[in-house]
Amino acid sequence: MTSIPVKEIVGINAISMNSGKKIKELIIKEWDRSEQIILDFSDVNVFASPFFNASIGALLKDKDIKQLQEKLDFQGISEHGKRLLNLVISNAIKFYSDKESKTDLGLDEVRKDI
């Protein structure tokens, strides 16, 4: 079992995509090593969707929700944070299962821009 102290890594605000990417990288690093990964959100005050999109939502590109539920444990997270987390997961499941529909239209264009 591994515990990731979110506040120590991103500070008291879990809001930005960059912060989310840091957490995602740590989760991926621990994924095969640990039976369970605890994400400890104690003392994290503010949450926003870009953070969860880049940390948890992005994991659903290669993993399914059942795997996430078995592996991840969210501790010390506020009700608001949990609601955002569930909203992001719901959107991410749709996003990654929607590869043939309009969500992907123009993706090549966007890649060119980047």
């Binding site: 500070g11 605000n13 809001i15 930005s16 995509m17 960059n18 912060s19 005050n45 503010v46 949450f47 926003a48 969707s49 870009p50 999109n53 880049a54 939502g57 992005a58 659903l60 590109k61 929700i65 996430l68 539920q69 991840l72 969210f74 506020s78 009700e79 608001h80 949990k82 609601r83 955002l84 987390l85 569930n86 909203l87 992001v88 997961i89 719901s90 959107n91 991410a92 749709k94 996003f95 990654y96 309009k102 969500t103 239209l105 123009g106 993706l107 264009e109 966007v110 890649r111 821009d113 980047i114």
Partner: protein, 322 residues
């Protein structure tokens, strides 16, 4: 074509439909003729709300940046001396109360410091932000300077939900504001707290080309109003703010939910459209008389701790994965 001088006689500008209509017309006129010089005349103006200040300040910012970048393009290599003359203010017959308000909101700090400057940084008011989003700077500023116990009395839970929602507005502004930003323009914000009504209002503006343009570049929706409405739906995004394989598109949905639970008001203006959310919790889209060539998001939030529910208390069903 010769440059001309124009006087812009500002009317009273409120956070209502007529205010947004006027601002959209003003923005369209100036965007169509950016080579001219403009003097904003306050003699007929008794009040200007946060939405008016971001648009007027944003237009001043646009004109100055336009002058600078167009002279650079012409190969002069130096900022044009015309840039200083691009924008003027006639404040001789300004209503003294309005003048005090503009000073207190820090409007002149950024737009013309000669007319008044406030030294402290903890005011709730007008700001021009860097062209790169400083996440923690904005959040710390909101928490430590805006939503302090001395200024307004709200629970920690509501405070964090307000900060989170405002952050989503800034992410949205920088998402498309930065992508289409040839003149290196700032994102502009203006906040205002009404202690009598216990309402906090905020407008955030970017002149990044607007929602319709952004949607139509990436999704085949030819009808402008449909393209505008598409962007407001939860899960829809043009993915202009980062890597294309990360899910997103929740900002406006989260804002809408927060505002309807809070019984506040949310307006999203872009191109020639304005979507408004009141108590019903649904967007109502109307056409405005002009065009914003960018995106203006305005919210009014109740801070009285009693007339609303928190997002964490919402009944709406989101699957509970964790």
């Amino acid at each position: 074509m010769a440059r001309q001088n124009y006087n812009v006689f500002l009317p009273p500008i409120r956070d209502d439909v007529s205010g947004y209509n006027y601002l959209s017309k003003l923005a369209a006129s100036i965007f169509e003729a950016p080579d001219n010089f403009y003097t904003f005349d306050f003699s007929r103006c008794s009040t200007i709300s946060h939405n008016g200040l971001v648009v007027i300040g944003g237009l001043c910012n646009f004109l100055k940046q336009y002058e600078t970048s167009s002279s650079m393009l012409k190969g002069l290599g130096l900022p044009s001396f015309f840039a200083k003359r691009k924008v003027g203010f006639n404040i001789d017959s300004i209503n003294p109360r309005l003048m005090e308000k503009l000073k207190a909101l820090g409007f002149w700090n950024f737009v013309n410091p000669d007319h008044g400057f406030i030294g402290s940084s903890d005011y709730i008011g007008y700001r021009e932000h860097n062209t790169v989003l400083e996440d923690s700077e904005i959040v710390s500023h909101l928490q430590d300077n805006w939503l302090t116990d001395e200024k307004l009395s709200i629970s920690e839970l509501l405070k964090s939900e307000i900060v989170s929602s405002i952050y989503e507005i800034f992410v949205n502004a920088y998402g498309h504001g930065l992508k289409e930003n040839p003149n290196n323009q700032s994102v502009i914000s203006c906040g205002h707290y009404d202690p009598k009504e216990k309402q906090l209002s905020l407008s955030v503006l970017d002149f990044g080309g607007g929602i319709v343009n952004s949607v139509q570049r990436h999704v085949p929706i030819p009808h402008k109003e449909e393209a505008f409405n598409w962007a407001l739906e939860i899960g829809n995004s043009t993915r202009t703010d980062s890597a294309p394989d990360i899910p997103r598109g929740l900002g406006f949905g989260i804002l809408k939910e927060f505002i309807s639970l809070n019984r506040g008001v949310l307006r999203v203006c872009s191109d020639s459209y304005m979507a408004t959310v009141h108590d019903s919790g649904n967007y109502v889209t109307t056409k405005v008389d002009g065009c914003f060539f960018g995106t203006l998001v305005s919210i009014t939030v109740n801070c009285d701790n009693k007339h609303y529910r928190l997002m964490s208390e919402a009944n709406e069903k989101i699957p509970s994965y964790f």
